[in-house]
């Protein structure tokens, strides 16, 4: 159990000739909660998408739960099973009910029997406080509800690690707090989490570490108090002034 949850070494990523990630090094311990922030285009999404290989990386190594991510397809499938991801735009399956969205992967991937999968799904739907929406279709829910379904869907796979990519930025202000609440309660249960977000209140409350990225590099990292009160770099200070001033 002393293998780190994630360990990234010298990660390089190109889009064509554009150098999107420049030698990223990052180690995440089990149970650690990390918030990633930084200006738009700084490579935050790209980094966490590399972690469950929605993007292929071009150099360096990524090691998740002791397994290295390489061209071996078996490895990828294994890792994706253990790493959940919540997208900014939810990406629910619109042709399935909320319940079906949640039971699909456990049944297909983990071969959980239907009844068990449904029980599990209902448990997580309760955890995100929308058990009553189980039989609706995603199109019939509000944005906040949809995002909570997306979280529940990830949880149903019982992942070791949960990645969030700006999970609240597509939401209306009232709905943001609903979703943040759910995330906070997840965090309190000790799940390993990496969360790209600009919700500084949330970061202060739950993050063990804040990572600040700019132009494809990790510029600064540290505890939330450190980062928010006394950023070590100018770039960080400037970014903070913008975000907080807004």
């Amino acid at each position: 159990m002393n293998v780190p949850a994630i360990s990234i070494r010298g990660l390089q990523k190109y889009y064509g000739t554009y150098h999107a990630l420049r030698s990223i090094d990052l180690t995440v311990k089990r149970g650690e909660r990390i918030v990633v922030c930084g200006p738009s285009g700084s490579g935050k999404s790209t980094m966490i998408r590399c972690i469950n290989r929605l993007e292929e990386h071009d150099g360096g190594t990524i090691n998740v739960l002791g397994t290295e991510l390489d061209d071996n397809i078996g490895n990828i499938d294994e890792i994706r099973r253990e790493v959940g991801m919540v997208f900014q735009h939810f990406n629910l399956f619109p042709h399935m009910t909320v319940l079906e969205n949640c039971t699909l992967a456990p049944m297909l991937v983990r071969k959980t029997p239907l009844a068990e999968a449904e029980a599990l799904a209902m448990r997580y739907l309760e955890k995100v406080r929308i058990p009553d929406q189980a039989d609706k279709y995603p199109g019939q829910l509000s944005g906040g509800q949809q995002q909570r379904v997306a979280i529940a869907r990830s949880l149903c796979m019982k992942p070791e690690i949960l990645l969030f990519d700006e999970p609240t930025s597509a939401l209306d202000p009232e709905m943001i707090s609903e979703v943040l609440d759910v995330m906070t309660s997840l965090a309190s249960e000790g799940m390993t989490m990496i969360c790209v977000t600009h919700e500084m209140g949330f970061a202060r409350k739950v993050a063990d570490r804040v990572i600040f990225m700019d132009r494809g590099e990790i510029v600064e990292q540290g505890s939330p108090e450190e980062f928010f009160t006394a950023p070590k770099t100018d770039r960080g200070a400037q970014f903070l002034s913008q975000v907080l001033g807004h």
Binding site: G84, H89, F90, L104, A105, L108, A115, K136, G139, G143
Partner: protein, 388 residues
């Protein structure tokens, strides 16, 4: 009067009355002129010709016809032939289109290249030229005596002969019915919303029950329809001038169906491609992130969503393909249009027959569109789809 025209409501009413009135007047004038012209030439008009015997024979029909059958029966058989060819054409065009569309969205560049070449060639040559070409090719297969044999099937310029069951016509028909019901039931079991929540094992058990019952019914039907002391299976073989036994598909039919499938497939391929592109990348990524395999994400997520995106356009394409069966006339397949055209030359009842032709196609195409729209409504995504 001027004030009436200035007044919006009255002007609107007037405009509408005028428009509809002019259209009606046109139709009525046309009808009157036609009647006058026909009378002046001593051409008998009316519908009584429908009950006269034709004196010629149909080249192909699903139910028996002879030269002593009346016109209405021939016309009906023509409609059946159109539907028959239409269904075959649609099915194969969909199959081809699916393959081409998949090739065109595939990750594999070779497949994409092949798909593109296919598309550009077959989409850009008029269907009628393609029909001529395939028919000429079909006619160049060897004669029955030199027929190519492939696993009991014979390939010759008289058609493709498949091994057949030696059973009576009615039991074949009943067999098809049973098969249709069985597969419809299976489809319903696997797709209907109400069975979604049933455990997969139970679903599989139900499905296999249905399949077994259908098979059993088929066996019984075949047994009943089979003359007691003849072999059950007939292989096509040369007898006299022609190949006898087994089932035969005439060159006219398969050339036409082939042309329609190839040409329609090119168009449907583009629709399929559009459908898959319409599925947001997000859905695919979500499926990956959940650990679904390529195949699972294809069958459970991408395909169902793509089908929903394609269906409305596909309806148009299907209507269009049904209309393409009218090219039967250039290779002598007795589709509805050709029967009508022949009936016109033999009976001279031009106006009546053209009327029947139009009514027939309106009914066929409106029903097709209605069915497709019904399916579309049934599988439409629920709620607002403002996010992808």
């Amino acid at each position: 009067m001027m004030t009436l025209l200035q007044h919006q409501k009255s002007r609107n009413a007037l405009l509408q009355i005028l428009y509809v009135g002019v259209l009606l007047a046109l139709v009525v004038t046309a009808a009157l002129t036609a009647r006058h012209n026909l009378q002046a030439q001593g051409i008998l008009s009316g519908w009584s010709f429908l009950w006269k015997s034709t004196g010629w024979d149909m080249t192909f029909s699903l139910l028996p016809t002879s030269s002593s059958d009346p016109y209405w029966w021939f016309l009906l058989m023509g409609v059946l032939n159109t539907l028959f060819l239409g269904i075959i054409g649609l099915a194969f065009a969909t199959l081809v289109g699916g393959l081409v569309g998949l090739a065109r969205v595939s990750e594999n560049k070779a497949a994409r290249l092949l798909g593109t070449i296919y598309l550009e060639i077959f989409r850009n040559i008029p269907l009628i030229v393609q029909v001529f070409f395939w028919y000429a090719l079909a006619n160049r297969l060897p004669s029955p005596r030199q027929a190519i044999e492939a696993g009991g099937a014979l390939l010759s310029n008289r058609g493709i002969y498949l091994p057949g069951l030696n059973i009576a016509g009615w039991s074949v028909a009943a067999g098809f019915l049973a098969l249709a019901i069985g597969s419809a039931l299976l489809l319903w079991l696997s797709l209907a919303r109400r069975f979604r929540r049933v455990a997969p094992a139970l679903r599989r058990r139900r499905a296999s029950t249905v399949a077994l019952v259908t098979l059993g019914t088929l066996m019984v039907l075949f047994f009943l329809g089979h003359a007691p002391d003849s072999p059950l299976l007939t292989l096509p073989e040369l007898k006299g001038l022609n190949i006898r036994g087994g089932y035969r598909i005439q060159p006219e039919i398969y050339a036409l169906a082939f042309a329609i499938a190839i040409y329609g497939g090119a168009y449907i391929g583009e629709i399929v491609r559009g459908g898959f592109i319409a599925v947001g990348r997000g859905q695919t990524e979500a499926a990956k992130a959940l650990g679904l395999s390529e195949w699972q994400s294809f069958t459970r997520i991408r395909l169902p969503l793509a089908v929903r995106a394609m269906l409305p356009i596909l309806t148009n394409q299907y209507v269009w393909l049904i209309k393409a069966t009218t090219l039967g006339i250039v290779v002598g397949f007795a589709d509805f249009f050709m029967v009508v055209a022949s009936a016109i030359t033999h009976s001279g009842q031009t106006l009546e027959l053209i009327g029947i032709l139009m009514a027939g196609f309106l009914i066929i195409n409106f029903s097709l569109a209605a069915v497709m729209n019904r399916i579309n409504r049934a599988i439409a995504l629920k709620g607002h789809q403002n996010r992808s």
